[in-house]
Symmetry: C2
Subunit: 398 residues, 2 copies
């Protein structure tokens, strides 16, 4: 059969990272490739007790259809929490539950973009978001980043010259893949530019609560007096990603459109786990749990940075994140990281080449992404040692 | 702020039924409006025990990210089950897990339709599907149904005359909203016509296992030698809808595109509940459980039909389903059911006017849909009595 697929999906490739993840069946491989939270961070015992309680006392509601907007007590709680903690949300805003942050990004694109419209994004950026925009028929156009994030002058250049820009997609805090955080002045400038050019901002903040050093930087959403920011976050990195629970804070006029789109996608998010999250957040101490996770990642990132400093040839540079899950390494002399990473994988260490994260699907990059949250401490030590030895040989020969 | 929403969402209204459901907070209202499974049909105790077991023995996998295609043991089990029970699936087919049947329908549309392409559908049809197609930018064009389902001559007429038809959406078994089942001869004719005109068939079968009288009719997918049928079903009506677990059986070339689209929508379906379903299907007796549900619905439908025969004026006709969740009633003399149902709701009985289910959003209908699976037996008796009294008055005055 010669299938006539839609234009938007005909040539779209699955995420290289998810493909790497899928093929990681050899237990002797050390993977720095994923972006999974540490399994140590799952509050298994608490969730078990609370789940049994739901089956005992609220099973019908937990197994029946529910409303698309999300479980009302959870929405109220999330709304209050982000307001109290991060000053996110004005009177015109509404909070809805989505099936992981990923769905929030996708719904935002669907709500604003016709086929062929443009989403600007950091270059490099989260590949799962870029592919999601593409699978909705939007075009992704990159704006280069330095170690302080998106470069405002280049953003303005794009806003001036690119037609049909509907949205800027940005991960200002502990960015994926670079691990960097955009300072407050740039955030303000980004907000002003988007306001000036009438472009929505989709602020993705999956890692923001995983800070292990330095001070919080206010989110762009916290500056949003005009209602131009769609804020997307989730419980994936602070409770569990497998349950697929995320949330959106955006003007109610926008969330009501997103709800219509969500009805057509999955009717609503798994209601049992929405109730479970609500119970966890009211009956357990989420803030203490997050402190525990931060401590895990502080240790793991320190360990990886220490190993990188010791093992890597000094010509390879890398970012020093204050939170999140990733370190971004860059080869000298513009060497192509795809070739480098391919050779590394033959030594059973996996990382993700930077080109994977580019808005230009045919671009090349001399950088690569390392994850420290998933591997064990021992794997971090052994894996970076292998990486260092390999890198020395590689640089000597290339 | 004057938001510039995408064309596909700018004018799309939320599903009238979900809005009815959302507003059903007055406990004195008797609702025949929903389409919820009976809460009696949820195997709560079994699920509770199996869930605790997952927390004890497999918690990391159950809370971590997983692959987009779905939990492999569940996929294999679903694949074998539909093959053994319904002869669904050829060598070229693949089975994937989706977040409720709704996501399966949406992904199918996204995979085949560009903006402006046409999905043919039964008229009337499932509003959740129609809105999903519309929210993807597809146009819905109806094909009228009689009490044997879609009329093949009219389908052929559409296939001949409508441009850019990519897909036929059809619920041949216990159709929503009509409750009717399309006989085998028509199914064959529908398959042949779509084959001839190069149009994919999206066969939605959420209710197929809920037969309480008569014999099974083979699915259209079971005839699919050419790989033109995407079969969509779910565990919502036989285990629990709130968990949002559905599945697709379609040619692997098609499912691999759907998987790319699904990555962009929610990465994967709640993995804990995928594992829970697998455990239920292997450690408990799903088939016996389904027999129990059928018996519940056989009794509830018989009760409602009995009450309708007793209470309704004979000018109002209604379908007699052999399974599923719905009865379709039709007013005489082409009376508009929207007006009729509005008056009925002031007597605190809710049903859904037929126009809700039409492909033409501005169409009118003299029919309305009743659901018998959700209300208690007592509510069925009282609600139909109120309906009958109201209908006699209404017909006398209109």
């Amino acid at each position: 059969m010669n299938y006539q697929f839609s234009d938007k999906l005909a040539n779209l490739k699955p995420s290289a990272i998810r493909e790497i993840f899928k093929n990681l069946t050899d237990p002797s491989v050390i993977s720095f490739g994923g972006g999974n939270p540490s399994p140590e961070s799952f509050p298994v015992n608490e969730l078990k007790i609370l789940a049994a309680d739901i089956f005992d006392n609220n099973s019908t509601a937990a197994l029946q259809y529910n409303i698309t907007e999300g479980y009302a007590p959870l929405r109220d709680l999330l709304k209050k929490r982000v307001k109290d903690k991060f000053d996110i949300g004005r009177d015109f805003d509404e909070t809805i539950v989505v099936s992981g942050g990923q769905q929030g990004l996708e719904l935002a694109c669907k709500t604003f973009c016709n086929e062929g419209d443009v989403v600007l994004c950091e270059d490099p950026s989260f590949i799962g978001a870029l592919n999601s925009f593409r699978s909705n028929g939007a075009k992704t156009v990159g704006v280069a980043c330095d170690n302080d994030g998106i470069i405002p002058e280049l953003l303005e250049e794009r806003l001036k010259t690119v037609a049909n820009v509907k949205m800027l997609y940005i991960i200002p805090t502990f960015q994926n893949p670079m691990g960097i955080t955009t300072p407050i002045e740039r955030r303000k400038r980004v907000y002003e530019l988007c306001k000036q050019y009438g472009v929505m901002i989709l602020e993705d903040n999956p890692y923001g609560e995983l800070r292990f050093s330095g001070d919080d930087v206010p989110t762009i959403k916290s500056m949003d007096e005009e209602g131009i920011v769609i804020y997307c976050s989730s419980l994936s990195k602070i409770l569990s990603p497998g349950m697929r629970i995320g949330y959106i804070v955006a003007p109610s006029e926008v969330t009501s459109k997103m709800v219509v789109a969500k009805q057509g996608e999955d009717v609503h998010t798994n209601i049992f786990f929405q109730m479970l999250c609500y119970k966890y957040m009211t009956e357990c101490d989420l803030e203490a749990h997050i402190m525990k996770i931060r401590e895990i990642y502080r240790k793991k990132s320190s360990l990886m940075l220490e190993c990188l400093e010791k093992e890597l040839p000094s010509e390879i540079t890398f970012t020093r994140p204050c939170g999140g899950l990733f370190i971004w390494c860059t080869l000298p002399r513009g060497l192509d990281s795809a070739d480098f990473i391919k050779g590394l994988s033959s030594r059973k260490v996996v990382a993700v080449p930077g080109a994977t994260f580019l808005s230009n699907e045919n671009g090349s990059s001399s950088s690569f992404r390392l994850n420290y949250s998933t591997p064990s401490d021992d794997d971090i030590r052994r894996g970076v040692k292998i990486l260092g030895e390999y890198a020395k040989e590689y640089l000597a020969n290339n």
